[in-house]
């Protein structure tokens, strides 16, 4: 019994040190550029978007009438938004070793630029944008979308 009690903390420490413990909420992307009014809304709480702020799956990203924002995601997808725009990162999975590849963005309004990354290279059907009137399937491209 005693050796077990001693071993457990070392096992946990070992896992932490080797980084095998994966956090459940790994960020999907990072804000790289921002101008004017731009917000990230997470679980209903808005915060002003700043350079290097993390973007998680489930986050809404929104710009005001003078706002613009640019983000880079883990798979290299580059998403940038002009003024009066709003999107939500509905699904983001980038784990190629486990063949888990998915990037679904829902766009509500405004102008957004999407430059595909590795998800579409590894899974052509893996990235799409949903708008109120259409589904946009990106097959390794640079695509501009306007919803009004």
């Amino acid at each position: 019994m005693k050796p077990m009690f001693v071993a457990v903390p070392f096992i946990i420490l070992g896992l932490i040190v080797t980084g095998e413990c994966r956090a459940d909420t790994e960020h999907a992307g990072v804000v790289k550029t921002v101008e004017g009014a731009a917000m990230i809304v997470r679980s209903g709480s808005p915060t002003a978007a700043t350079v290097n702020a993390k973007v998680n799956m489930g986050d809404h990203v929104q710009t005001g009438s003078d706002g613009k924002i640019g983000m880079i995601f883990q798979d290299d997808t580059v998403v940038s938004m002009g003024p009066n725009s709003k999107i939500v990162i509905e699904d983001y999975l980038f784990e190629p070793a486990e063949k888990k590849l998915s990037f679904v963005t829902r766009m509500f309004k405004g102008t957004v630029s999407f430059l595909s990354g590795q998800i579409t290279k590894l899974a052509p059907e893996g990235a799409r944008v949903e708008t109120p009137s259409a589904t946009i399937g990106m097959r390794g491209t640079h695509v501009l979308v306007q919803v009004d």
């Binding site: 980084g19 990072v30 790289k32 550029t33 921002v34 101008e35 290097n52 613009k68 924002i69 640019g70 983000m71 880079i72 883990q74 290299d76 580059v78 940038s80 938004m81 002009g82 003024p83 725009s85 190629p96 070793a97 063949k99 309004k109 102008t111 957004v112 630029s113 430059l115 595909s116 579409t120 590894l122 708008t131 109120p132 009137s133 259409a134 589904t135 946009i136 399937g137 990106m138 097959r139 390794g140 491209t141 640079h142 695509v143 501009l144 979308v145 306007q146 919803v147 009004d148």
Partner: protein, 215 residues
């Protein structure tokens, strides 16, 4: 009698007006919910390397595929098919999308470091470390990923571990040179994400690599 008529006439008009007003919120709600008034326009641009990919725009009513630069398609609503693509003028594209395009960040910088065997970098690849450090400095990057890979020789479990050790070796080099630990994320892809597709158990030096991405 005339008074009564005019009264009921006004009363009827009044009810109609109130009825119409009452329906407005319902209509607005329906429009918002059904997205009837939300037009979508999609424009396909060439990639930074000059090639053009493909985009498919679809809804329950129709579908359009575009694969030429500056092609654009509009979809008026969820109940209208996407229109046949037309080529859009540069100026028209800029006038609508200048905000989103101006704020577009530079795509991430990728570096490929190769290994002789196990976790020993080739000398050419060791020479890339200063370049990587400079890229991190210049971009003030706080999001750097180090991804380890192997070729298909050996079994999957061994390669998962080898790719992890390769990524760890490169991570150590970066941290030794002052990069903050919480700015670097290491991942191992084992033999699952080859640069050069090969069969199983094929020695391919180009797949024995670590990819460093500086965002």
């Amino acid at each position: 009698m005339p008074n009564m008529n005019s009264k009921s006439h006004v009363h009827r008009e009044g009810v109609t007006i109130w009825k119409a007003l009452g329906l407005m919120p319902v209509l607005v709600f329906l429009i918002v919910v059904l997205g009837c008034g939300k037009r979508t326009m999609v424009v396909l641009l060439p990639d930074p390397d000059g090639t053009t990919g493909q985009v498919i725009v679809s809804n329950p009513v129709g579908s359009v595929t575009m694969n030429s630069p500056n092609q654009a398609t509009s979809t008026a609503s969820a109940r209208t098919a996407p229109k046949s693509p037309v080529v859009m003028e540069e100026e028209a594209i800029q006038s609508i999308f200048s905000g989103a395009l101006e704020i577009q960040p530079k795509p991430p910088l990728h570096f490929l470091l190769y290994f002789r065997e196990e976790t020993t970098l080739t000398s050419a690849s060791s020479g890339l470390i200063p370049e990587i450090l400079q890229a991190i400095q210049e971009r003030d990057s706080t999001d750097i990923s180090v991804v380890g890979h192997t070729d298909t020789t050996g079994n999957k479990e061994y390669n998962m571990d080898l790719s992890r050790r390769r990524a760890a070796a490169v991570q150590s080099l970066l941290l030794e040179n002052g990069v903050q630990p919480d700015h670097v994320k290491t991942t191992s892809h084992g033999e699952e994400n080859p640069l050069v597709k090969t069969g199983d158990n094929v020695s391919e030096p180009k797949n024995r690599r670590v990819e460093v991405v500086v965002r």
